[in-house]
């Protein structure tokens, strides 16, 4: 065997051929940030058009392409890969493993993503335009009435599904087989736990999504009628299959965020996480329940009363384990020696806003009330509170929290705090008014609206521009930290942070834990 302590290769081939979990994590994070900016640019076009009633900037067809691509890119291109990047960087360092279990597959699961999204974005230039049927691509809009570019969309979904499945298998294999001696399951940091459960969800439901798009492909090109009533199929079947994937998918997005918050809040409260075991069980309970609530997205399709009741009660049940988590985070902070650095600010922002999103989710779970809310801006407000203030805020907190560890350089704390406050205020100006216009009946995915919604929509648009601009500040802060940030040499950058990654030098060497660490009696969480 050669030299075990070699550094990275030089130049472009380092990134093309790398099997190092830190390199691959970095690539995932940069790729997802690029997608975040692209999806964000599409959101800016949407909000610019909605700034005033009437049609100003874009054609209605193009507006629909923007809402579709914004959703697809944010869910599959920005949020999911960003958490995979975080998992790549952190899981081996948190469980005392030298790398991921399958480093070559790791390289492959990253490198098939950029072509998939290039293909998806290229549909904008195709005849008939990009997919315009919404990110949920309900049949027959996505089959009978779809633009020709839908075939490229289907292929892109197939590729990113394969990427997700490979990534998840890798994470499960790493956590199950490569923990350092003494790192029992119930000593693992909560971030590792939430990712382990998330990975199982992904392995179970990404193939279902692949099945749904395969059926679309066959309906469009091979004369089958899975979703066509004329040939004996049923468009409602599409919704059942999609949401059987789609509901676990929303927990795939939010569970790693729960893990991040469960690492950061104890660090800045200088107390161990309250109720570690109950956090693990609550995560598992949420994952289980996510499989039996899918039809709450489709209360209005004409389900029998018994079905509506079952899905309503099952959905409300999810509030119990989620409530356990929120309770535990708040109790962790209770009487802690708290300080409010940027990661903690974003975590508290997450806690407050995610809880609001959870409550609107409970409102939506009430089947008879949902007939009023269905497909209105109330739903848009709800899922942006959980996706942006939930997943994206926690991701931002994670970057501020671990960036000094990864790079050995500190970001600008003042700029970080400004970023938080501008984000927090911009986000709420954008999405809080959408609750009101939604309750008043403004439908989603429509480029024009009735005059009485004008003021709230203008507020929303201004908030969106503020929130969007604040992300450029974030980008600048990160780049400035990497290139010229103040050097940090402490292993434990945050004095309250616990876990194996904080026993490594800052920045950690290219290869870490080639000899497994000894796990002391310290609680890992």
């Amino acid at each position: 065997m050669g030299d075990h302590h070699h550094g990275p290769a030089k130049g472009l081939s380092r990134w093309l051929y790398t099997t190092n979990h830190k390199d691959i994590g970095t690539m995932y994070l940069w790729f997802s940030f690029a997608m975040f900016l692209l999806g964000g640019a599409f959101a800016m076009i949407i909000r610019a058009e909605l700034f005033q009633p009437g049609m100003q900037l874009v054609e209605p067809g193009f507006f629909n392409q923007m809402t579709t691509l914004h959703g697809l890119i944010m869910v599959f291109g920005a949020i999911m890969p960003s958490f995979v990047g975080l998992a790549n960087w952190l899981i081996p360092m948190m469980i005392g493993a030298p790398d991921m279990a399958l480093p070559r597959m790791n390289n492959w699961s990253f490198w098939i993503l950029p072509p998939a999204f290039l293909m998806l974005a290229s549909t904008l230039l195709m005849e008939g335009g990009a997919p315009a049927f919404g990110w949920t691509f309900y049949a027959p809009l996505s089959t009978t009435y779809a633009p020709p570019s839908v075939t490229f969309f289907i292929f892109a979904i197939h590729i990113l599904g394969v990427s997700s499945i490979m990534g998840s298998i890798n994470i499960i294999a790493t956590v199950m087989n490569m923990r350092a001696p003494g790192m029992s399951y119930m000593k693992m940091p909560l971030f590792v736990w939430t990712w382990l459960i998330t990975a199982f969800l992904l392995v179970a439901v990404m193939p279902v999504l692949a099945g749904a798009v395969t059926m679309m492909l066959m309906d469009i090109h091979f004369g089958t009628s899975f979703f066509s009533a004329a040939g004996g199929g049923d468009p409602v079947l599409f919704q059942h299959i999609f949401w059987f994937f789609g509901h676990p998918e929303v927990y795939i997005i939010i569970l790693p965020a729960f893990g991040v918050i469960s690492q950061i809040i104890p660090a800045f409260s200088r107390k161990p996480l309250f109720g570690y075991a109950s956090m693990v069980y609550a995560t598992a309970a949420i994952a289980f329940l996510s499989f039996i609530v899918w039809a709450h997205h489709m209360y209005t399709v004409g389900m029998p009363l018994a079905g509506e009741l079952f899905f309503m009660y099952a959905t409300m049940l999810i509030a119990v384990p989620t409530g356990v988590k929120v309770f535990n985070w708040v109790t962790t902070m209770w009487r802690g020696a708290m300080t409010f650095e940027t990661p903690m600010l974003f975590s508290i922002g997450f806690l407050v806003l995610f809880t609001i999103g959870g409550f609107t989710g409970l409102m939506l779970s009430i089947a008879p009330a949902d007939f009023q809310y269905h497909d209105t801006y109330f739903v848009v407000a709800h899922f942006h509170y959980v996706m942006v203030a939930g997943a994206v805020f926690s991701m931002t907190a994670a970057i501020y929290f671990w960036l000094p560890k990864w790079t050995g350089r500190m970001y600008n704390e003042t700029m970080g705090k400004v970023h938080f406050w501008v984000s927090f205020i911009g986000f709420n100006i954008t999405f809080f008014p959408q609750h009101f216009v939604g309750l008043a009946g403004m439908p989603r995915r429509i480029p024009d609206y009735a005059l009485q919604f004008a003021d709230f929509n203008m507020m929303s648009s201004i908030g969106a521009f503020i929130y969007g601009a604040s992300q450029l500040l974030f980008l600048y802060n990160v780049i400035a930290a990497i290139t010229s940030g103040k050097r940090v040499t402490d292993e434990k950058i945050w004095d309250g942070a616990e876990g194996l990654e904080w026993t490594l030098p800052s920045p950690p060497p290219y290869h870490t834990f080639e000899v497994p660490p000894t796990i002391e009696e310290q609680p890992a969480h």
Binding site: A101, L102, I165, S168, I169, I172, A173, M176, N177, M178, V203, A204, V205, M206, P207, V208, A210, G211, A212, M215, G223, S225, F226, S228, A229, A230, G231, G232, D234, V236, L237, H240, I241, F244, G302, M303, P304, G307
Partner: protein, 185 residues
Amino acid sequence: MRLSQDPTIDTVAKLGAVSVAMFAFVFVVMVPLYNVLCDALGINGKTSSEAYISVVSEVDETRSIKVQFIATNNDGMPWAFAPDVTEMVVHPGAANDTVFYAANPTTASMIAQAIPSVSPSRAAEFFHKTECFCFEQQPLDGESEAQMPLQFIVDQDLPADIKTITLSYTLFDVTSLMRDKVASR
């Protein structure tokens, strides 16, 4: 069960099998199960797609059920399509006959498929069709018309609170779908 000596390969093989199984699950479990459940429970107002074999039964003269007929063309379907009568009053257990009228105003011969739906959906399993044009595809030459027969029985076990049943047909143009199937043979 261990699939390999190497624990990593063992984990990967098992998880790979799970993902392949979940992909197959969509096709071999979810789709048939959905159709079976809809048929069995009458969800979506789906009626049976096969002729009902009538059993000899008493006609319940004490109850009268109003049966309404609706005919709709799917998007882009150029045919004229209408029920002969829009409403009938029938007794549970009795066999009733009616016809639907269809005309193809175009010059090309076309094939149509009618898809039924019953409202309220709870009534679907009590609405039996012994003969229906919806069981088969309907070919029609250009500029010609046809009377399409329907024979049905309302079950005596129809819940007492249901006084009116609406039977709706949507007519789909399946000409190109059928041509593709023939061409691919």
